[in-house]
Amino acid sequence: MTQVRDETPVLDVAGLSQRFAGGSGHFWAAKDVSFQVAPAEAVALVGESGSGKTTVAQAISGLQAPTSGTVHLAGQDVVRLARTRRGRRDLAGRLQMVFQDPYSSLDPTKPVFQLVEESLLLSGLSRPQRHERVAESLDIVGLDPVQHARRPRELSGGQRQRVGIARAIAPRPQLLVLDEPVASLDVSVQGQILQLLDDIRTRENVAMLVIAHDLGVVRAIADRTLVMYRGSLVEGGATPRVFAEPAHPNTQGLLWSATAHGQQAMPTAAKIALATDAAPLPLADTGCPFRARCWRRTAECDTDVARVETEAHWFACNHPISASEEVADRVDVTA
C-alpha cells in the first residue's frame, strides 16, 4: 500500500527475468518483473496457470537462479546467498515458504514435532530453544500437543497445512512465500487457513507474498495485488482497487471467470478472444503479451505497450478499461 512504500522494503525484486527452453524454443517464464514488499505487507501475485507466478516465487526463494535481475531480501542478495549452503541457512532464517500440497510438503515418515523442527535444525539454536520454538509455533497454528506425535497420514488436509505453516513460521522469518497455500484444501477449510494466515501476519509482523490463482483467496488476504500474464506483470495496486476497477483486460477476464455469474456476464467478443490459443511470443517481442487474446487490441499493441501509473494503481495497457466504462456486472463479481 502507498503508505508503507516509503519504508525499507523486506523484498525488492528488480528486473527479474527467467528464460526457459520450451517445446518450441526459448521463452520468458518471467520478463522484467519488478516489485517490492513492505514489512508486514501481504502482496498477492495472481495469474492463470503458466503465467510465471511460480517461477518468480522460486527465484525469490533462491530455488532457481534467475537469468537476469536481482532479488534482495532485507538488503541481502538472495541469488548470491542461495549459491552456498551456508547462505541458504542464513536465508532460511529470513524467508520461509509454505507449499501448495500439504501431502507432498511433509515427510510421511516423521511425526509433526520433528517436521516443524526441521526448519530450525540448521539455525544454530540449541535443542531446548528449538523445542520451545516448535511448541510455540504449533500453538500459534492451533495444533494441540496431542497431535505432536502424529504422522502426516493421521492428519486432515487442513491440519497438514497448519503443520506446514508452523514449520515456516518457526524460524521467525521476515517474509513468508505462500505458493497456493489453500488451493488443495476443501473450501470449508480454506477460510480457516486464510484467517490463520491473517492472524499470523498481525501477530508475527511477517510480510507475505501469496501466489494464487483463486481471486477469492487474494481478496481475503492481500493488501496489494499484482497480476501476471506470460511472465510479465500487467497490473498492480491496492487489492480493493484492482478488484473494483480492473484496467487491464487480462485482469477483467480473470474476474469474469472467477464466478459463474461473471462468466454469464462476459461479452461475446471477450469470450471468443479469451478462448483463443495464443502462440508463444519470440524472445525479442516488445508488444503487449496479452494481445493475442485481447478483444481490445489494435495495431500498436504489436509493438508497444503503454504503462500508466496512478496513485495506488498501475497497469500496462494501450486500451485500458476505464472506471466509467460499462462493464457487465463488475460490482457483482467483486462484492
Partner: protein, 283 residues
C-alpha cells in the same frame, strides 16, 4: 474449527485381524520358514558336536534313533549337515543382502538424487552389471579370485547390488520432486543429511521387500555355485556341496540328495513367497 478436531484414526491392526487378511499360502510359507529356522538353530544343539565329522564306520546308516535322517557316504549325520548347511546359506544370504543393499542403495540414491552426469555414469555402471547373466559372471569371477567364503560373498554382492540400485534410483527420482525435499534443500541441508533424514526412511519399505526376494536368490546362487565346485570347498558345509557329494550315491542312498534338495527348495520358495506378498502389498 472442524479441521483441528481429532480425525478418526484407523484402528491399529490387531494380530488377529492381520492374520485374517494374509492369504493362506503366505501363512504356510511363514510356517515352513519358521520350521527350517528352528531346524538350523536347534538340531546342532541336540546332536553331539562331532555329528558332522567324517566317520567311515557310520556310512549309510538308515534313519533311526541314532541319526534322525540317517547318514551320508562319509558317515555324517544328515539332519546336522542340513542344519549347518542352512546356517551357512542363511548367514551368507544375510551378509550378501546387507552389503549389496547398502551399496545399491547408496549408488541408486545418490544417482537419483544428484542427477545429471553423476546419474548418467552410475546408471551406465548399473547397466553394465545388469547386462551380464548373474550366475555366469559369479562363476567366472569366483574362479579368478580362487574359491573361498569371502570370495563368494564378494562375487554375489557384485551380481546383486544392481537389483537394489535400479529400484532405489527410480524411487528417488520421484522422491526428489517432493516438496519436503525441496524444503529441506532450502534450509541448506547437506546431501548426506537429506539422504539420511528423508530418502532412507522413505525407501526403507523397498529395501525390505527387495531383500526378501534377494535372500532366496542368493541362497540358490550359493548352492548352485558350490554344487558346481566353484564355491565353498570341503570341509565347509553347504547344501549345494552336500547334494554335489551325495549325487553319486543317488541310486543306493537317495535320502541325502532328496532331503537337502527339498530343504533348499522349501527355504527359497517360502522366503520368496513372503517377499513377493510384502512387495505386492505396497502397490
Amino acid at each position: 474449527m472442524t479441521d483441528t478436531m481429532p480425525t478418526p484414526i484407523q484402528p491399529h491392526p490387531t494380530p488377529r485381524s492381520v492374520l485374517r487378511r494374509v492369504p493362506p499360502i503366505v501363512t504356510v510359507a511363514s510356517a515352513v520358514a519358521v520350521v527350517l529356522l528352528l531346524w538350523a538353530v536347534l538340531v546342532p544343539l541336540l546332536n553331539p558336536a562331532d555329528a558332522t565329522a567324517v566317520d567311515p564306520a557310520r556310512r549309510f546308516t538308515p534313519p533311526g534313533p541314532d541319526a534322525l535322517l540317517g547318514t551320508d557316504h562319509l558317515g555324517r549325520d544328515l539332519a546336522s549337515m542340513i542344519a549347518v548347511g542352512l546356517r551357512t546359506s542363511i548367514l551368507m544370504a544375510l551378509t550378501v543382502v546387507a552389503v549389496s543393499g547398502a551399496l545399491g542403495w547408496l549408488v541408486g540414491a545418490v544417482g537419483g538424487y544428484v542427477g545429471g552426469v553423476t546419474d548418467n555414469v552410475l546408471g551406465r555402471l548399473m547397466d553394465v552389471f545388469n547386462a551380464f547373466p548373474g550366475i555366469i559372471l559369479a562363476i567366472a569371477l569366483v574362479t579368478v579370485l580362487s574359491p573361498s567364503y569371502s570370495a563368494l560373498v564378494l562375487v554375489l554382492v557384485l551380481v546383486t547390488w544392481v537389483n537394489y540400485g535400479r529400484v532405489i534410483r527410480a524411487r528417488v527420482l520421484s522422491l526428489r520432486r517432493e516438496e519436503y525435499i525441496t524444503a529441506s534443500r532450502m534450509y541448506g541441508t547437506s546431501l548426506g543429511r537429506i539422504l539420511g533424514r528423508h530418502v532412507l526412511p522413505n525407501t526403507g519399505d523397498l529395501l525390505l521387500s527387495i531383500s526378501l526376494v534377494q535372500i532366496p536368490n542368493v541362497m540358490l546362487a550359493e548352492s548352485t555355485i558350490s554344487f558346481l565346485g566353484f564355491g565353498l570347498q570341503p570341509p565347509q558345509v553347504s547344501l549345494g556341496l552336500l547334494i554335489s557329494s551325495e549325487k553319486d550315491y543317488l541310486q543306493t542312498n537317495a535320502m541325502p540328495v532328496l532331503v537337502a534338495g527339498a530343504v533348499l527348495v522349501l527355504a527359497c520358495t517360502s522366503i520368496a513367497t513372503i517377499g513377493l506378498y510384502l512387495r505386492g502389498k505396497e502397490r
